[in-house]
């Protein structure tokens, strides 16, 4: 049951008929999708459709109530603690807020996974960390503490940390949320550059349609617990279905209602 890169599976991550619910509310109702190896796959969808939950399923933090989540052909829910941790060592994940460890410096944050999992000599760790920080343009900030960084910088440091051990799969959770146009451009270029230079597989969860269209090879749109559309960004743009058009063009009302279910507006105001 060990993961070997010799035994290549076409799809690095696959979800088959996944069901998952929280507190009686069904998040996924038979979700099926596949992430091709070596490509950038975007997962989009309106807020609250469980995009982050999907990432938690892939990283094995939660288990689907029905269906299969496969990473490299292995079912994540069937892995024991050690196997799960071995699998995670080959993944890197960029959290929405960076999730840097606040009690150690930028340098130590990037060095953290290396120190925890290897016995490399300090000189080698230093080279590794500085190279990765150079890639994200923050080599000069290695001495800073996490609270001294801006949101965009934190996310770049977190990206350096996520890729420091050269993972096979990089997962980005809302990498553009709350970034200014310059930082957004930087992160976009980094996603593309990393994917090409390191030949890794990337999953980008986002609802920034325009930005994601610039980097994704393949996009999925999730709504109402299922995959409702898939294809290249261009294919999705030309898609005729009402829901895809609503989402891609940012229309306030359509199949995805703008309003949370509520009783009659006038009736409630006058009652």
């Amino acid at each position: 049951m060990t993961m070997t890169s010799n035994n290549l599976v076409e799809h690095l991550v696959e979800l088959k008929d996944v069901h998952y619910s929280v507190g009686g509310r069904a998040i996924f109702k038979g979700l099926t999708l596949a992430v091709p190896r070596g490509k950038i796959t975007a997962i989009m969808g309106p807020s609250g459709t469980g995009k982050t939950t999907l990432l938690r399923l892939i990283t094995g933090q939660i288990v689907a109530s029905k269906g299969q989540v496969l990473v490299e052909g292995q079912e994540v829910s069937k892995l024991n603690h050690q196997q799960l941790y071995a699998m995670r060592q080959r993944m890197g994940m960029l959290f929405q807020n960076g999730a840097l460890l606040t009690d150690i410096s930028v340098y130590e944050n990037v060095a953290f996974p290396v120190r925890e999992h290897t016995e490399l000599p300090e000189e080698l760790i230093r080279q590794l960390v500085l190279t990765k920080l150079q890639t994200v343009g923050l080599r000069g900030a290695y001495k800073l503490m996490p609270w001294e960084l801006s949101g965009g910088m934190s996310r770049r440091v977190a990206l350096a940390r996520a890729m420091v051990r050269d993972p096979e799969l990089l997962i980005y959770d809302e990498p553009f949320a709350g970034l200014d146009p310059i930082s957004m451009g930087v992160v976009l270029r980094l996603i593309r550059k990393l994917n090409e230079a390191l030949n890794i597989t990337s999953i980008v969860v986002s609802h920034d349609v325009e930005e994601i269209a610039q980097v994704a090879d393949l996009s999925y749109i999730i709504a109402d617990g299922q995959m409702v559309a898939s294809g290249s960004p261009k294919q999705l743009k030309d898609d005729k279905s009402e829901l895809v058009r609503q989402f891609m063009n940012g229309l306030p009302d359509g199949p995805v209602a703008f309003h949370y279910p509520a009783p009659d507006y006038h009736g409630e105001l006058l009652s």
Binding site: Q61, R88, M93, N97, A99, L101, E116, R161
Partner: protein, 252 residues
């Protein structure tokens, strides 16, 4: 009636959860000890940083004990017994209990809120995704830190407390220096010292466990961390006094 049954069920479930949590920590202790720097930093964090408050409180408790003890013993004409009485009270009861209460307020809250905030900011999840067990990296070192620090703080509290008693009894109220110390040496047995040490260790386990448990299981919101911090102090205080009774009953 139904609600009472539900509450009892909840309490039992919490006990079970804490016990499982404790087992998970114990299993990670050997691996945590392989990284002594983390553990030493946590001993410093829980112990050295609590030192000033422990010493100041120890001094005042000792001085009050000197005044009250002298007043009480003078009514029976046995002021000279102040040394042994105060030393026994400090070693067996006041030292461990007050140190534990102060520890819960100073170090316990710091531990709980620190771990709780790590939960809020996704740091614990990030560690898990990086295949680093937060129990080994975060929880176990902090638990060991508290466990080691509390008995040491207890002994320091007792020593300063005895100094405080001496300051009032001998220096101010004029009990003979030689009588004071010799009476103390005569009546305090090794068994009494052990009682203090054992209580310090047990309270150390209890307070550290509650602090890391509350922090780790805190709801990831500002309110949740606040509640976890409050619960740490309240539960630690109640548990300290409860365990104090149990250990005293066993050791007498």
């Amino acid at each position: 009636m139904h609600k009472i049954a539900q509450d009892i069920g909840r309490v039992i479930a919490t006990f079970g959860a804490v016990a499982l949590f404790f087992v998970r920590i114990v299993m990670q202790v050997p691996r945590a000890l392989l990284r002594p720097r983390l553990v030493i930093y946590q001993i410093y964090n829980a112990g050295a940083l609590s030192l000033v408050i422990i010493m100041i409180c120890g001094l005042f408790v000792g001085m009050v004990l000197g005044l009250q003890g002298y007043d009480l013993l003078a009514r029976f004409g046995s002021e000279s017994a102040l040394g042994s009485g105060a030393a026994l009270a400090l070693l067996k009861e006041l030292g461990p209990v007050i140190t534990s209460l102060l520890f819960a307020g100073r170090a316990g809250t710091a531990l709980a809120s620190e771990i709780g905030l790590m939960r809020v900011t996704d740091q614990l999840v990030a560690m898990e995704v990086m295949a680093v067990d937060p129990f080994r990296r975060v929880v176990a070192p902090r638990f060991i830190g508290g466990l080691v620090a509390l008995p040491l703080l207890t002994m320091i509290f007792i020593a300063i407390g005895i100094f405080g008693v001496q300051l009032i009894g001998v220096q101010q109220l004029g009990i003979d220096q030689g009588t004071f110390w010799s009476q103390m040496r005569g009546s305090v047995k090794l068994h009494d010292v052990w009682e203090g040490v054992i209580k310090g260790c047990v309270f150390g386990i209890a307070c550290s466990l509650i602090a890391v448990y509350e922090g780790y299981t805190a709801e990831p919101t500002a309110e949740g961390v606040g509640r976890a911090t409050t619960r740490t102090v309240v539960t630690s205080a109640v548990l300290t006094l409860f365990l104090d009774y149990i250990i005293t009953a066993i050791m007498l």
